[in-house]
Symmetry: C2
């Protein structure tokens, strides 16, 4: 999916919601645990319930790797199910990979060939050759960590040079030259909404993947205020707030309600900006 | 395995060699491709041939993930085979993970519970809460990226504050307070041997995992000169130079020859330092 197609998908669905599939086998409703593949059964329930309100899904690889081979199978089934349900869905593997060139080439194969996702999150610490192999794939995206939403973001991302440039700004400034806004997105946490204004000065056109709304405390309207551009330019992720809205048999109904609530707020924000 | 045990293993084997299992299915000898699990068959050949000269093995996760579920199975079989062959082996999952706390907890489960490795490589970009869940495991290690051996290392790792401190130094200074030298190691590329002297001033006791000898051009004697401490404090990795020493039926013999050559050089360096 390319930049323009993603924007049209946002307009069509009146939403820029990304649902994070951080599926923790210990947290899913008890009645699903008898299923031969509880993780997939849960994901299927969440996908069926939230697809009307959602443009993107973001499986978090850690949660699948923690279950070993079975987890990898659940992930593949989930991705296959997503593709079978809709052509109109953008899939991000939240993997935060990053390694030297020949290894990154292997990760690119794993995510784009083997798992067939649209995008993968990458850590910028090791520089350009960690990203280049991913950029060789047409209509696939590299989503670089810039300013994250967790407490540890403060440890290094605000490290500042003598001119006052912070590491996350340096990462964006440098990496934006590696590919176009049709290939690269950035992770910017919703808990740092005030920073979005400065980031938009550096990258007016790029999409931002914004985690941290909900469980981590970020505000959607603040994110839209500082981060939205003329192609929306935002994918806002919610994971726990949707997945674990209920731990009972009504988990999918409650997930749909919470996704719909976010979608309606997003629709209103898109209207305010004249994008729909 | 703890700090002292690792040092005793190095003394016993007269080696601080780590063999990187970056097993590329496209590069393994043709006759193995008829095996039901060519990747495992290759790894088994390499392990049998190199175990006398080696203290650590470092499977590179990307190469297994690129093969999907089958790759994950090959990895598990390889790890199980390693454990069955010797209690005296240190296993590092080269995964370069790093994510917010609850996700890192899942990765810790994946690597320490599910795969049962001794150590995992981690990217520091997202700060302390990306590492903490790994430090909760007893006698397991977090190996943080500090100064890597690839060209892209120059993009951000040398980013410098107004006092002249570079990002990789800031990473080491900050993260050394998160746990002891019994829990944390650092990746420092052999291609940056001159930097090892300054790094040793910050962390005299920690082990360093040093890639980049061989294919990437680093010098073993330079690494030992600047990086060795009174517990050796080094694990030097070779991947391609050993794995692909020959692409024919004699691949294991040639791998053993190259591993032995490195071991003998290491033995000489350990003797020079009075450690054996």
């Amino acid at each position: 999916m390319n930049y323009e197609q993603l924007f049209q998908l946002i307009r069509k669905k009146k939403s820029f919601l990304c649902v994070g599939l951080d599926t923790d086998i210990k947290k899913i409703p008890g009645h699903l645990k008898e299923d031969p593949d509880p993780c997939f059964a849960f994901n299927k329930g969440i996908i069926d319930a939230t697809l009307p309100y959602t443009v993107a899904y973001k499986p978090n690889l850690a949660f699948y790797e923690a279950e070993g081979t079975a987890g990898w199978e659940s992930l593949k089934k989930t991705l296959h199910y997503l593709r079978s349900q809709s052509k109109d869905v953008f899939i991000i593997a939240d993997a935060k990979r990053g390694d030297i060139g020949n290894t990154s080439g292997m990760y690119a194969r794993a995510f784009f060939d083997e798992l067939d996702v649209d995008a993968v999150t990458l850590s910028p610490y090791m520089g350009k050759d960690t990203v280049s192999p991913f950029l060789e794939y047409h209509d696939r995206w590299s989503v670089l960590l810039a300013l994250t939403s967790n407490p540890g973001a403060a440890d290094f991302q605000y490290f500042e040079d003598s001119k006052g440039q912070k590491l996350f700004e340096k990462v964006i400034e440098t990496s934006k030259t590696w590919g176009s806004h049709d290939q690269i997105m950035y992770v910017v946490g919703a808990t740092r909404a005030e920073a979005l204004k400065d980031i938009r000065n550096i990258i007016p056109d790029h999409f931002l993947l914004v985690p941290g709304v909900g469980a981590q405390g970020g505000s959607l309207s603040e994110v839209a205020r500082y981060g939205m551009n003329d192609h929306c330019g935002l994918l806002v992720n919610s994971s726990r707030g949707i997945l674990y809205a209920s731990s009972e048999r009504d988990f999918a109904i409650k997930a749909a309600e919470n996704a719909k609530e976010l979608q309606q707020e997003m629709e209103s924000l898109l209207r305010q900006q004249g994008l729909i």
